[in-house]
Point group: C2
Chain length 345, copies 2
DNA sequence: AGAGCGGCCGAAAACGATTTCGTGTTGAAA
DNA sequence: TTTCAACACGAAATCGTTTTCGGCCGCTCT
């Protein structure tokens, strides 16, 4: 086990000074060709790599991005990470990931942990609990300390910074419009409680679609779910007692639960009821019937977030103008929303 | 935007020396109560936090774990990350994540990127391509440089280090045994090509289960898949032309593809054919019929890996004895393998 | 011959923290 | 009065780099 090579060791070995070695390796004109080549050859031979920590300290830049996410066992966030990682790595940045598990305290802890010099900036999607509390002091503090933040997906309006979102409302509206166009008259929505920003927006899209088509809005067809884990029973009960011909679910989990509930009732999807979902993941692709969904393009969101952050990091003299990038959603029509295309069962 | 507070600034402000400040904050007895309290009060007031990078440089420890994974949009790896993250954070470690995308080159690049002082050690699951090439020099080099490695799930025998695996073979055997116990006579297996270590082991478990029950091994009922993306057609064709009453699939994707293929053939699961899968994820839980699977306990694997690594980092005088932790698998019996429990369709 | 200049290199400071080793001031013991 | 220990603090080294500044040598130009 050999400890890593340092400039000092090279200098001692070659009988020159540390500064000479440093300059030689960085191709400074101050160093004669002869010395330069000798040092470079030696460095290459013993596979010298400058110590990142020392560089970080010297440059006061870590080339590291802090990523704080509510969860990770979730296709959407996983794809976001993919997108971030790809752009970051390509630009020579590392990504430190911390999970908040949707807890406010863990989110704050994670940010404090990373803010002490470990990262140059943050990409963050706020925890559910944070949205509920509406306490964003930790975000503001990071910004005040000079650490740029890019918010992704679950953004908060009160904080002034770069943001990457999709048009949740529009995506939902398109999905519901598609159900309407397919002949649905009584469309239920299964959504989250209102403090989850994206849930609220998707609900709004649903309402707007109905409004635009002069359809009556029936509050009785709106189910707002607090706890995903206990959603199946709620959804069963909800659908058992309502007569509907279309369901719009704001995520894959609700969509599959809805289909199960409809089966319980003896109904088939898409034969009797059409279903449209949100968030395209493995589940949507593999489910039978495969789910029509609003694609959020998570990887693209992540990539954009990383680009925005890195740009801000590398052009710090940039004006204080922040932008909100809106990634286009797209409808993926699969079996669950198409009467004509009955799946194999 | 105030730059972060440093010891030097506190010292200047309070008209003492940097060393005094440092000692006061660390409760050294060398400092008088009065000075100590004054300094601590000031530090608290202005929310001083020591700079992590400087500490890392000084201590030659980063308290950061490098995690290199083949992919992340995959429930298993996502849960592994969860487990690692939880243990790491609780012990005051950060986690840097890099994705290899199953590419050998990216795996090597990532490790080089992190080995230059950014992390104290690695947790790694080797890329598919790396397993195919059987080139593990980058792992050995990291170890030679004094960076401990813990291999997870996709391990390599040639490298001597701590490892965390499940008994893939035993898990598969149990699953197949369960199919046999349920009355299956002709059980097909849908697995990966052999160079994927876990695939090979699961195949072996399948063979052993058949052997133990004195069942004839029919090579014609073994399908080895190279590319997951084009697996559906292969599986369709495979199942169309074979008469079977049970399917063991080495992952959720293959399992759902198999069920689709069986539907195409006019067969129902579990009525006509029983299906057992491997890797418990959202897909297994939500699918209709829900999938019986071998649970790999990814979070537990991740947690164990983090524990092993951190232990080795903090007790460096430890003997050079490495251990391989084998996490118990467990069978989760859901609808797809139980004739009696017909799902709602 | 003296001034000036360019080529080549080393010393030292800096990044922010910890730690070892002084050093000056007390007060008490001899 | 001298000596010595305890006390409270500061100077400086250290971690591994980069960079500024200055120095030395030899050469050319007047």
């Amino acid at each position: 086990m050999k400890p890593k090579l340092t400039l000092k060791q090279i200098a001692r070995e070659l009988d020159v000074s540390v500064s000479t070695v440093s300059k030689a390796l960085r191709d400074s004109v101050e160093i004669s060709e002869e010395t330069r080549l000798k040092i470079k050859a030696f460095a290459k031979l013993y596979n010298y790599k400058p110590n990142n920590i020392a560089l970080s300290l010297k440059n006061r830049k870590t080339r590291t991005i802090g990523l704080v996410l509510p969860e990770i066992v979730h296709d959407f966030f996983a794809t976001v990470i993919s997108g971030i990682e790809q752009v970051a790595n390509q630009k020579g940045y590392n990504v430190i990931i911390c999970l908040s598990n949707n807890s406010f305290d863990r989110e704050v802890m994670n940010m404090e942990m990373l803010a002490n010099g470990s990262t140059d900036g943050f990409i963050l999607s706020v925890a559910k609990e944070t949205q509920q509390r509406e306490d964003y002091h930790h975000l503001q503090e990071a910004i005040n300390q000079g650490m740029p933040i890019v918010l992704v997906d679950r953004v908060v309006d009160q904080i002034v910074c770069d943001k990457v979102i999709i048009d949740d409302s529009e995506g939902a509206q398109n999905a519901v419009q598609h159900l309407i166009d397919s002949g649905c008259q009584k469309i239920a929505i299964i959504t989250t409680v209102d403090y989850v920003s994206v849930g609220k927006l998707r609900t709004r899209g649903y309402l707007e679609a109905l409004g635009k088509n002069n359809m009556v809005i029936n509050e009785d067809l709106i189910l707002k779910i607090e706890d995903v884990d206990q959603s199946q029973e709620e959804i069963n009960e909800f659908l058992r007692t309502r007569e509907i011909d279309g369901v719009f679910a704001v995520n894959e989990q609700f969509a599959t639960s809805a289909i199960k509930a409809l089966h319980l009732k003896g109904l088939s999807v898409p034969r009797d009821v059409l279903v449209f979902s949100f968030s395209d993941g493995e589940l949507s692709r593999r489910f039978i019937p495969s789910l029509s969904t609003v694609n959020q393009h998570g990887a693209e969101m992540g990539a954009k977030a990383a680009e925005l952050l890195i740009e801000r990091l590398e052009k710090p003299v940039d004006e204080e103008r922040f932008q909100t990038a809106i990634i286009k959603t797209s409808l993926i029509e699969r079996e669950s929303s198409q009467k004509t295309k009955t799946p194999v069962e």
